[in-house]
Every structure is written in structure tokens, then in C-alpha cells.
Amino acid sequence: MTLPPIYIMAVITILLSAALWGGVLYILSGRDRRLLWLLLPGLPLSAVVNLAIKRPLVLWLGEAGNVEPGLGLASPLWFIVALSFVPPVTEEAIKVLPLLLPGARRRMDGRTGAMGVGLALGFSFGLGEAAYLAWGVAQAPEYAGYPWYAFTGFLSERTAVTLVHGLLTMLVTVGIWHGGWRILGGYLSAVLLHLLTNLGAILYQLGVIPAWIAGLGLLPSLLILAFVFERWRRQAAQAGDHEERAAEVVYFERKGDEERQP
């Protein structure tokens, strides 16, 4: 029995993404190693949500609406819309499930802490999703003849998607940290941006757009999420700026014609 070639690329992808996004998480958290363990609990959640929730839900929707699978654009519009919402609604909910762990909740000690926890849980889910998708590809005989290095698209796409998962979950955890109506606001924002992220792939599967346009589908949501992330980081940095200023050394400061030299 030979190893499906996608597994080699999946191992490279998961190790690379874990090092890259784990490194970013480590730096963003002020080199706090305790946050890194949150990269673990989300690993099985992609398989869980796909096998135990999404698949039965889609089958139930089809049976309830008496819609045959695989009709593409010939399916009723309500069914296409419902199918499009299934991944965002289910995945954004299950990604924060590890917050049931007291250790994870304790890390949500402020907006920066909530951002870090969200990123970690989302990265964790994204890494697990890469493994789950690689397993799916390995079941398809049409991919068995390709060498492992033919799957570079898997590497680049999954690395980027793992970042998007982290940023989406950050919206939910920051909402939870705020409390009240912002919990719903954070979750719905994540669901809608997740839907926007998937839109290219959905339209491609329906045959509406070509693959190369579908490949650009990540960009709009990634840009929006990066803007939100940077805005929150800037606010957090300004709020805690006194700490940075205490750590900095001012060698020279010109004030009009007056100069200060410590």
C-alpha cells in the first residue's frame, strides 16, 4: 500500500502553517508561550463538523426540500443559499467550542487576549481542516497519479485559509469578550465574511465563474479582516502605549529651538 501523495504535501502545509501562524501568534501575544497550546484543541473540529454536522444537515435539507443532489444551478435558489450558509454558520460556531475549557477562557483577559485566543483557535481549526481535506483528496482516485509536488496549490491555499480562519474566529471571540449583543454581532460578522470567502468557490462549483477568478475569492474578506485586525491592534497599542514608552529610550527630542538630551 502506497502513501497517497497529497499526504506529503499536507504534512508540509501543516508544518509550514503551524510555524508561520504560530510564530505570528507568539510575537503578537508578546512572546507568551502559554497561548500556543490553544493551537491544539481545534485540530479535530473540522472533521467533526464536516462528518457529524454539515453532511447530515445537507442531506436533511435535500430530503426536506425534495431536492436531488448535484443539480448545480438547476437547484432551487433557496437550496443554493441554504447550502452556502451551512459551512459559515456551523464552522464559526464550532471553532469557539474550546472556550468551554477554563484555561482558554482565562486567556480572554482583555481585547488583546480575546484577539489572541480567537487567532489561536481559528489557526487550530485551519490546520485540522488541511488534514481533513487532504484525507478527502486521498479518497479520490483521479488525484492518485499526481506526484506530491503537484499539490502546491493546496499548500498556498491552505496556508492563506488558515490565516482567514484565525481572523474570523477573532471576530467571534472579541464579540464574546465584549458580551451582550456584540456576541451575536461578532458571530454574524464572522458568518458573513466566511460566506464572502467561500463565494468564489461556490460560484465556480455552480459553473458561473472560471477557476482563476474563484482563486481570487479570498482577497476581499482577507483585506476586510486585516483592516479590522490592524484597527483593533492600533487601539490596543495606543491604550497600552505607556508601557512601550516606559521601555523606550529617548536620546534626542527637538522642541522648537529647544533640544533635550538625556
Binding site: 485586525f229 512601550e244 529617548v250 527630542e253 527637538r254
Partner: protein, 171 residues
């Protein structure tokens, strides 16, 4: 105090990142050629894509090769930051408003910034965009600010560099 002084940056392994990224991109473009052998359908498209991808990797290798040229030149008129022939930032001494050392805050925006090296304009969450010519991306950056720009550098002998700079700013 008009003679030119040259200061070197503190040592780092940042050039390894540049070289590694360059080799990775070129390696991936070579792998693409292995997937579709000559004569097969789509070979020309893959060849063109591979060449274009490899061309993206070359600048990283060139930047890695220029790593030893990073330096800070100080004369009676200006502080000049140099990196190979592609980066020259000239800061007139009479326009310098502050000199301070601090840690900077990482942002997600793309820039030429790896552990151990930061070049050209780099966006930071706390201080905005900084023109970098430094062997560190986040920690212990010497920020030189004018009314319009911020510059980031990492002299090896920071005390001597700052003393020389201060002596020229206020003789």
C-alpha cells in the same frame, strides 16, 4: 565635525530568510516543470509560469547578497542609510526631531520584513509606516523621526552612533 563616519548594523541572520525565500520560490517553479514534462499538453504555459515565478525569487537572492553592504553614513549635513544600490535614505540632520530606541508592534500588512531584517517601508501597528534599513524587524529599533518620515535602523555600536549623531545635530 564634518568628516564622514560609517557605522555598521548589528549582526543578524536575516539574510538567510531572504536567501531561503528566494530559493523556495525558485524551487517551487522548478517543481512545476517536473509535473508537466516537455511535449505534454500545457507544457508551454507551465514553462512561462515557472519562468515568471522564478523571476519573483531572484530579487530575494540579490537582496540577500547585498546584506553586507548595509551601513549608516554620517557627515556634517546628513545621515544616509544604504543597502546595496537599491536603498538610499538621506536624512538631513537639521530635520531630525527625535531619536529614540523602542520595540515596534507587528502588523499584518505585507512588507519586506523577516526576523533579522527589515527593508524599505514597513507598516507597524503602533507607529505607522517606518522606512527601514535594519537587521531587526521589531526589537531594539533606533527610530529617527523627521516631521514627515520615520526611519528605523540598528547600529551595532548604538552608543557611539547616537553620540556622533547628537554631536553633529547640536555642535
Amino acid at each position: 565635525m564634518s568628516g564622514e563616519l560609517v557605522f555598521r548594523p548589528r549582526k543578524s541572520a536575516g539574510w538567510l530568510w531572504l536567501a531561503g525565500i528566494g530559493l523556495l520560490i525558485i524551487g517551487l517553479s522548478a517543481l512545476m516543470l517536473l509535473v508537466v514534462p516537455p511535449g505534454e499538453e500545457g507544457y508551454v504555459a507551465v514553462l512561462v509560469t515557472s519562468i515568471l515565478t522564478a523571476a519573483l525569487g531572484l530579487p530575494f537572492l540579490v537582496l540577500a547578497a547585498w546584506y553586507p553592504t548595509m551601513r549608516y553614513e554620517l557627515d556634517g549635513e546628513a545621515l544616509t542609510l544604504r543597502y546595496g544600490p537599491v536603498l538610499t535614505y538621506r536624512i538631513p540632520l537639521d530635520q531630525i526631531e527625535t531619536i529614540r530606541r523602542r520595540n515596534l508592534s507587528l502588523s499584518l500588512w505585507s512588507s519586506l520584513r523577516f526576523p533579522g531584517i527589515a527593508l524599505f517601508g514597513v507598516a507597524y501597528s503602533d507607529v505607522g509606516t517606518v522606512k527601514m534599513c535594519a537587521t531587526a524587524a521589531l526589537n531594539g529599533i533606533l527610530l529617527v523621526e523627521t516631521a514627515k518620515e520615520k526611519y528605523g535602523l540598528t547600529p551595532a555600536d548604538e552608543a557611539a552612533f547616537v553620540a556622533a549623531l547628537q554631536a553633529r545635530i547640536s555642535p
